[in-house]
Symmetry: C2
Subunit: 312 residues, 2 copies
């Protein structure tokens, strides 16, 4: 393997961690999934971070995720727009799904650290990522590290990034920082952006700051429902109107965030697509209550929110 | 399905959450695994909680766990002594491994709640366990809930147990309480032990207290290395010597606990079996440093610790 010597241009811009629709028996619903992915790309998303936190990815088995990836590509979603989440607690699962993603031609993979054991060492995390890279053994691999300590409880430290970048330049391609802590994102940008390490903000809240400091975009939950305005800020971040656009997309996010995020995203799509099945969440998550849903939709409507082109 | 109407006698006593040996390439080592399981049973363990926290279970894929279970049974370990961990983040994984365990004739399964999402509702957790029970659909299933909030960060509350017991009496068979909080174990005993719900202490530290309050034994990490003396306390908890026996096994545990628990258990077996390969941990865990290992072994030796019958 010659690390990082081949491959297409890297994804930059706004990526959506695509919510995963389920059927009434909690089976993944490939048809609705493909349809939503196509709508997101048509709405300007540069890429699709399928199997992220907001995708209920960890509620899906590896075979279920492999089958959905296959359906996306068969359904006309370009693999070059895909950055699936492939990090699992089990090293063997991470290797299997990462290999499948590379073989399908995905632009990259977004990898959680193994998250069951808490307080693990950077040495142990280094070995985890290193084993995945070595076992996949394919220089088309572009690995983005997924730092989301509020959920994973296991951080990706600057020291770990430095060590991985030194050993696997070009393969270790970037990070999604969902710490919610701009000073951490800034530290990653200052330390690594100049060496070709692509930093994505974990939400649109920090999109403008990230672009002004050498970042490459954002990967954001609300990209599932509000992609157009977020993409507009990405495309026009140097314009005089950028601050107003940043404030507007934060205002929309705040409405959604008053409710539990994942069922709120699903309820929003269900409402604006007039397709109630979208509300189903796989256990352990549950759908919004009727009162939560009513508050969400009425506040979105009052704000002038819309999802152009969504309804069939 | 007629819940809980058939099945053999339930396991009571000391269970070991069996450590999982790996080969140099991190593949599971079935031969060493079978050998250790047979030694644990020969040493008095009533059962084997394979695929627990101390087994690095979450570092193994479902196919790897299914293959190991099969090898155990083929290797002469009675399925009636097995209580494999079958709880995963993904509902589909939990269903698959639970079904495989029931079909093999395992005495029960020990189920973690889905542990990626934090702050989930009891309703969501109820749906998770309920779906597993309904999909497996086999009245031989005996489901033990695994409460280990320091690691899973997702608790099994008394309210959740009450609701599951009411709906699935006989199937929902008990709990392992690894909260480290005796008042919680006591509350579980007071609320549910009389109705045939088997409470296992999560370590030998609370074995005597648990037995005196209607519990059924313990499932403990150090059962991997010190099963004989722990089993002796279980068998003689009513004797006048019980307090001394309790103090002695706690003293041994304290030596092991000074080091990271899982690599310490593996280093202990490696030393006393004269088999260094046992030291290997799968990432993200790492083996002890030489200094840690030296301290561990010298303190164990100084205490008179031994593992009778282990060396081949």
């Amino acid at each position: 393997m010659r690390p990082g010597t081949t491959g297409a241009a890297r994804i930059e811009g706004v990526l959506s961690p695509v919510i995963t629709p389920f059927q009434r028996d909690y089976a993944p619903d490939a048809e609705r999934f493909v349809r939503h992915c196509r709508w997101l790309l048509a709405s300007g998303c540069a890429g699709l971070a399928v199997f992220g936190t907001n995708s209920e990815a960890n509620s899906l088995s590896v075979p279920e995720k492999r089958a959905l990836l296959q359906k996306l590509v068969e359904g006309g979603v370009p693999a070059a727009a895909l950055m699936p989440g492939t990090g699992h607690c089990a090293l063997s699962d991470s290797i299997e799904l990462t290999r499948a993603a590379v073989e399908l031609g995905c632009a990259g993979v977004l990898m959680l650290p193994p998250f069951f054991y808490k307080g693990v060492s950077d040495e142990g995390l280094y070995r985890n990522f290193s084993e995945v890279i070595e076992r996949v053994g394919d220089d088309r691999l572009r690995l983005y590290l997924y730092h989301i300590p509020p959920v994973s409880q296991v951080p990706i430290t600057l020291g770990l990034i430095e060590r991985l970048l030194a050993k696997y330049p070009g393969i270790v391609a970037g990070v999604k920082d969902s710490s919610g802590d701009w000073s951490n994102t800034k530290a990653m940008l200052d330390a690594f952006a100049a060496s070709g390490f692509d930093v994505f903000a974990g939400s649109e809240v920090f999109l403008l700051d990230n672009m002004r400091n050498g970042g490459k975009g954002c990967i954001t939950a609300t990209g599932n429902v509000n992609p157009g305005p977020i993409v507009q800020l990405y495309k026009n971040w140097r314009s005089g109107d950028a601050e107003r656009m940043q404030a507007a997309i934060i205002a929309t996010r705040k409405i959604v965030q008053k409710q539990p995020m994942i069922p709120a995203l699903k309820a929003t799509v269900a409402h604006f697509a007039n397709d109630p099945q979208w509300k189903i969440c796989r256990p352990p998550l549950v759908e919004l209550t009727a009162a939560q849903e009513e508050q969400l939709i009425s506040e979105l409507n009052a704000s002038g929110f819309s999802m152009p082109g969504l309804a069939g």
